[in-house]
Structure formats: C-alpha cells, structure tokens
C-alpha cells in the first residue's frame, strides 16, 4: 500500500511543477510582431519672403532720380537636392506698364533696382531660366550652392523710379506689382 501512495505523491508533485512552469511561461507570452511602414518625404524647398508687401513713395518728383522707395528686406531660403546656383529675379508682368495711374503708365525701363546698395539697374533684362519676362526683368543675385544645398540669405532690395527725361507724370497714384522669384540652376 505504501509504494502506490508514494508513486501517486510523486506524480502529483510533478504535475504541480509542470503547472508552475506553465504559469511562468504565460506571464511573458508574446505575440507575433506586426509592422507599420512609415514613409515621410521632405520636398526640396526654395522660398522668397519679403519683409513687407507694400512699399510707397509719398510724392513723385518728375524728371528726377530722387524717387526712392523704402528698402524691402528679402529672405531667400533653399533646401535642395541638386543645383549649382540660386538666382533671385525681380520682374514686371507687363513691362510697358510697370506702374499705372489709369491710362498714365510708367514702364519698367523707368524702374530701377539693386541689392544692398550695390547700384541701380533698370528692369529691362531677360528672364533667368523660366523666371521673368523679356524686357521686364532684373537678376538680383546669383548665389552658388556648391558649398551646400541648404542655405538662406537676406538682402535689402533697393527700388526707385528714374524719371529723368520722362514726361511729366499725371497727378495721382501709380500702382504696380513687382514679382520677386527665385530659381535654381
């Protein structure tokens, strides 16, 4: 009678041990690993930000160079994957009427620009790449990006009306839109 009882006790102990080991295993039971693929694309960027959207001359002086607009700050930023230079171009959509006061017009030949006090040039140039209008454009800078495709620069855009030799203007307010756009080449 003693031997069967011992054997039964031994089996019971084995079962208890087995159950205990199962409990340990279940406490750390792990599932399969599901995955989520994440894709995020950073596009190349090229931006121009003027400090002001409007610049004004309070009183035009005929036959004079002294018709300077307050400078406009321009920040040009780029983050590129390729290219050799960043070019900033100012241009009028319709060179013959850069500014208009009704039927009275001031052409782009009488509007001059420059960068950082570097001199004056009329907006009469050709487009740069696809940016600009023939006879109504001015390349403001050409910045090499050979040293890095990520950068920024801030410039002061100087603008004036050169009315020397220009017919007397009609009294009134002349308004126009100068486009400023950058292009990578």
């Amino acid at each position: 009678m003693q031997r069967p009882l011992n054997r039964a006790l031994a089996v019971a102990a084995a079962l208890a041990l087995a159950a205990a080991s199962t409990a340990e295993a279940q406490a750390g039971l792990t599932s399969n690993t599901a995955t989520v693929t994440l894709n995020a694309t950073k596009l190349s960027t090229l931006t121009v930000s003027p400090t002001t959207a409007t610049t004004s001359i309070a009183s035009i002086t005929d036959n004079s160079l002294a018709n300077q607009f307050p400078d406009v700050g321009l920040t040009t930023a780029w983050n590129l994957t390729a290219g050799t230079s960043v070019n900033l171009v100012g241009w009028f959509a319709t060179p013959a009427s850069a500014l208009a006061n009704g039927a009275a017009l001031i052409p782009s030949t009488k509007v001059e620009g420059g960068i950082n006090g570097g001199g004056w040039t009329a907006f009469t140039g050709a487009p740069v790449g696809t940016v600009g209008v023939a006879g109504g454009s001015l390349q403001l800078f050409n910045q090499s990006v050979a040293g890095g495709l990520f950068g920024t620069r801030t410039d002061q855009l100087n603008l004036r009306l050169n009315l020397v030799g220009f017919p007397t203007t009609t009294a009134g307010t002349y308004t126009g839109t100068l486009n400023v756009q950058a292009i990578v080449q």
Binding site: R3, P4, L5, R7, A8, V11, A14, L15, A18, T22, A23, Q26, A27, G28, L29, T30, S31, N32, T33, A34, T35, V36, T37, L38, N39, A40, T41, K42, L43, S44, T45, N79, L80, T81, L149, F150
Partner: protein, 198 residues
C-alpha cells in the same frame, strides 16, 4: 425405428442444480475479494496553448507626402490594430500592446539627418496615450527597446475576457518643431507592434 426424446418433467431438479451453481459462484467471489492489485497511476496532461496575436487591419503603410520643417506633421490615417488573446486568467494579469522602434535614434532614416523616435508621437484614445506621446518609453516585459517604445494599452484579464479581442486606432505624427531643418528626400522607418502578457 423412431427415436423420441421426452422432456424431463422434474422442476425440483432444475432448482437444485441452479442453487448449486450459485453457491459455487459465491464461494469463488469471496476468494477474489481478498486480493488487491498494485495501484497504477496514469498521469493525464493536456495542454491548451495560450494565444496572443496582433494584426494590422488597415493603415499598415503610412505616408506623409510633404514634411514641413519646424511643424507637426500628421500621418493622414490611423493604424487600425486588432489584438486577440486566449489566455489563462489565473496566470495572466494583463495583455499589453507595445509599439517600438528597433533603433530609437533612427526611427526614420533618410539622407544626412535621421528622425529619432523622440520626434515620432503616437496616440491611442482607447488606450494609454490618449494624447500624442513620444515613442520614448522603455520596454515592457521584454518587448520593446529602451527609449524607443510606447505602451499603447494594458488590458486587465479576468475570467470574463480570458478569450477576447479588441480593435484600436493608433494615430501617428512627426513633430519637427525645434528640430533641425531636414534635408530633402524620403525618410523611411518601421514601427513594430507586439503584445505581451504580464
């Protein structure tokens, strides 16, 4: 010649024979009742394997077509996750769902700059991170990575839900506020989802 067998018509004889047979049987039974064989124990083991699985039912591929620097960039759709379990409630307190990146410093890799897991945030309104939370926690129960994990839920287990499932939405975003400007390009990463019992 015709042989005829006649029926014995003696009922008392039949009774006598039957009684003798019963008496012999009883004696035999008494003799067997005194002998007991050795006990033989047969151990019965039947294992029901616990089950725990995670399935992404939709949103397994998440894309942001155009990242914006210094801004919060949301992935457009949630990741729908179904977690299914069949466990022993006596041995399992909770089922936990973990999200983690294998290499937290490079959760998404691209060009020069990498996006770390500290910039990838998860939100599960039905779970623990009800607000967007960076995936910067530690592993739970051996699942996850140090500084690159996020516990999405911890489901208490009882007899009532020992075999059950739940479906949750995980929203993801990349927070680039204050992060250096990213170089243009595509950044790729893999977010792992895995459940563990405790």
């Amino acid at each position: 010649m015709q042989l005829r067998v006649g029926r014995v018509r003696k009922p008392w004889l039949s009774l006598l024979v039957s009684s003798a047979v019963l008496a012999l049987g009883a004696r035999e039974a008494r003799a067997q009742g005194g002998t007991v064989s050795a006990a033989r124990v047969i151990a019965l083991l039947a294992t029901k394997t616990s089950q725990l699985s995670v399935t992404v039912t939709s949103g397994a591929v998440q894309s942001i077509p155009s990242l914006t620097d210094n801004a919060v960039n949301n992935f457009p759709s949630p990741v729908v996750i179904t977690t299914t379990w069949d466990v022993n409630p006596g041995q399992t307190n909770t089922v936990n769902l973990m999200a983690y990146f294998t290499t937290p410093a490079q959760a998404l890799t691209g060009g020069i700059t990498q996006i770390p897991s500290s910039r990838v945030l998860g939100q599960m309104t039905t779970g623990l991170p009800v607000a967007f939370t960076a995936i910067t926690q530690n592993a739970v129960g051996g699942v996850g990575t140090v500084g690159g994990s996020l516990r999405l839920f911890s489901q208490n287990i009882s007899g009532a839900n020992k075999k059950a499932s739940r479906t949750d939405n995980l929203n993801l975003q990349i927070n680039l506020v204050g992060f250096p400007t990213l170089a243009p390009g595509t950044y790729n990463g893999t977010l792992n989802l895995r459940a563990v019992t405790q």
